[in-house]
Symmetry: C2
Subunit: 429 residues, 2 copies
């Protein structure tokens, strides 16, 4: 049996305490699986006096995470503080410079400073692992970095924010508008302190940027992710999409095209009977398409104490076993600065509009679509149910985002709409 | 850049050629991901003259896999011959003794001789990896061995034979009897030379035994897997199960109980709207339940050139990167000889029987169920549709397999059945 791997854990929120509990509960199991014990030397958090759901009495306490990261009796620094800068970044850098490996769950930090940290880790001969940063307990970082390493990756997709998926599925099942369910979610404690991180798609966008970097061997580029949150998803669209056989998901898609790397996080329609369409509540799903493996679907809890701590432990055990991988699965210097590309891959689109109830209105709409080069797969006009006009739904054949933009700009000029038209991409899954 | 990892590939069927193609197509990608080139030195197969879909001219040819395994210019021996003994086993042993690491896709060999091979590998300081042995391109070995290594595993389940799932879903969608679809599958080339390996549940049983060993830290024990194939699944049961909201799958389940390790591979009902229930055609799915991670679902192609070769490459790249794991995720000596246990975990059951159309028949059936300690969740009696009698379906509340066995033995003695009763377990998923 080799020497123990000694952990310093910074951040004792839900996930940090979850990690402490696993190490205490499964010490023997982890030891036999690693060929060496995994122990905790010291911990740190903002408030020492807070009552926590674990016995921390055997660990040294550091008031400062940077000091924790530099302790001589710490081999591996576990950063669970969070935040894209400040003490999280400082302490990780201090750990690497002090010759410690790092495990983190910090998606924002990796999405914004991943390249810089990967370069520092390599320069210091240290590793950074971050399975918990994306999709909680789902082993998606390992799947991309290792299991599919022999594949060219065609596309990575995923529902990676459980709060948004909860809100969308709850709107559908309870027939409630966005604002009501948002307020429910807030009261249930599902939302971040700044809820736009969740419902604005930013948290999920961070995760997508990390996956894209590994999948395509590119420098992580969060700024290039086209992000739209779920705020404009109406209960009307959820119901109309359902009528047409779809569900609306906040879906992240990254794919490399001849024009560059497309990364988008936006509300999309997916077939109701697809694995993504069947995903309810807070569960996450990542779909990876490899040129040899085909489509691999991974599903599980995207957040929560146990699942996230399980992912952190996966990294801890990997390092305890002596596995040493480059941060994004290849040397940092080999990561290319990909050309960011606006979404151009054609897709079918869903369009909803309200028409004035008068002769020729539908003809004008159809003419605009035709002029935009959009051909119609299915169109459905509803009875005069709305106070605003006659609801009309269109599912287009595959078309370009440019054609859709053209149509959306031109439709109001027909003078037959009673409001703004809505469009949502139907992602092929 | 380190020295290349030099492969010797034994077996040039679909998977072997798939591996050759990936290494030829993605040489640069693999090299940058591994930090060293991966090359093929030599290959072997039974028939050198066969026309193969890859250029093998740059590789040395060995007529004998054992000689290939012992070549000085081979670092890693890739066994893709198959079979639970003979040259596959001989060549792997020769490779390990000659100081080579081994990658194999051979589920039968690992299910029957896994412990012995793991011990040999450890004694020689070598590793054996086998991601391709279970569920094709789905990274389930890595998920269990690494991603969930910090979890106590509660249960592992899976649909792991694509041919059986194809047959069952085709019976359902086309309304065809087993024999007809079996013959279709044979003509499509979906069946092994000995089809009982597929439809008899043996191939899937091999896979389950391997997963159980990793999940529970036990010596692989294929002989203890309770196996029943899909031969007795009738189109009637498929339709009746559908009526009740279920689908029938050849489902493997392994779980550790106080009585010992339960391993079974058998046709089961699962809810039609569960991920397992929605699995169609040749796709595989593995569900792992960890005490921290919760339920992780992995889905993908379970067979075929690309997916299986992708899994082989995952192991090759792992070894090229210098990762060295014990065969079943912990030292071979630490693997416990688990007490095998017959299925005792309670479950709901589906029962179908044909009753004589006379007064009191249903009462007698209900009495037998009551006497057996079985309480009824739902019962449905159909109109006189069958030539054999009145079909009656029962879905029980959770009960023990013993109670079901008791009822199945007692029911014919009522004298009101026109044939044998059928029972199928409803696995909780």
């Amino acid at each position: 049996m080799s020497a123990p791997l000694r952990l310093g854990i910074a951040g004792l929120g839900t996930v940090g305490i979850g990690v402490v509990k696993i190490i205490q509960k499964h010490a023997d199991l982890v030891s036999v699986r690693c060929g060496r014990p995994v122990t905790i030397t010291a911990v740190s958090a903002r408030d020492r006096t807070r009552n926590r759901d674990a016995d921390l009495s055997e660990f040294a306490w550091e008031a400062d995470a940077v000091s924790l990261a530099q302790r001589d009796d710490v081999d591996l620094f576990v950063e669970l503080i969070g935040g894209d800068a400040g003490v999280a970044k400082d302490s990780i850098e201090a750990a690497l410079r002090a010759g410690k490996d790092v495990v983190t769950a910090n998606k924002a930090l990796l999405a914004l400073h991943g390249q810089e940290l990967a370069e520092l880790a390599e320069a210091e001969g240290r590793v950074i692992r971050f399975e918990a940063a994306v999709a909680g307990g789902i082993p998606v970082i390992k799947a991309l970095t290792e299991s599919l390493a022999g594949n060219g990756i065609n596309r990575v997709m995923g529902v990676m924010n459980g709060t948004c998926n909860y809100i969308l599925t709850r709107m559908e099942s309870a027939g409630l508008p966005y604002e009501t369910v948002f307020e429910e979610a807030r009261q249930l404690g599902y939302l971040e302190a700044d809820p736009t991180l969740d419902v604005g798609g930013i948290d999920a966008g961070h995760k997508l940027a990390i996956l894209a970097a590994i999948a395509f061997g590119t420098r992580v580029n969060f700024d290039a992710v086209e992000i739209e949150g779920i705020v404009r998803v109406s209960i009307d669209d959820i119901h109309r999409a359902e009528d047409m056989g779809y569900r609306i998901k906040l879906l992240g898609v990254a794919q490399m095209t001849a024009r560059g790397l497309e990364q988008r996080m936006s509300p999309c329609l997916v077939p109701a009977d697809s694995p993504l369409g069947q995903l309810n509540g807070g569960t996450n799903m990542v779909v990876i398409e490899g040129d040899s493996a085909g489509q691999i679907v991974l599903r599980g809890a995207g957040a929560g104490e146990g699942p996230t701590a399980s992912a952190v432990m996966s990294d801890v055990i990997e390092i305890a076993r002596g596995t040493r991988l480059p941060t994004f699965g290849r040397p940092a210097a080999s990561l290319a600065a990909a050309q960011p590309a606006r979404t151009a891959v054609p897709a079918a689109y869903y369009m909803r509009m309200e028409l004035q109830d008068k002769p020729g209105a539908l003809a004008k709409v159809a003419a605009v679509l035709g002029d935009s080069g959009i051909s119609i797969d299915r169109m459905r006009q509803y009875g005069h149910a709305s106070r605003d006009g006659v609801p009309v739904l269109v599912v287009t054949h595959k078309t370009t985002p440019e054609a859709i933009d053209h149509a959306i700009a031109a439709l109001p000029r027909t003078g037959v709409l009673t409001g703004d038209p809505v469009e949502l991409r139907i992602e092929e899954v």
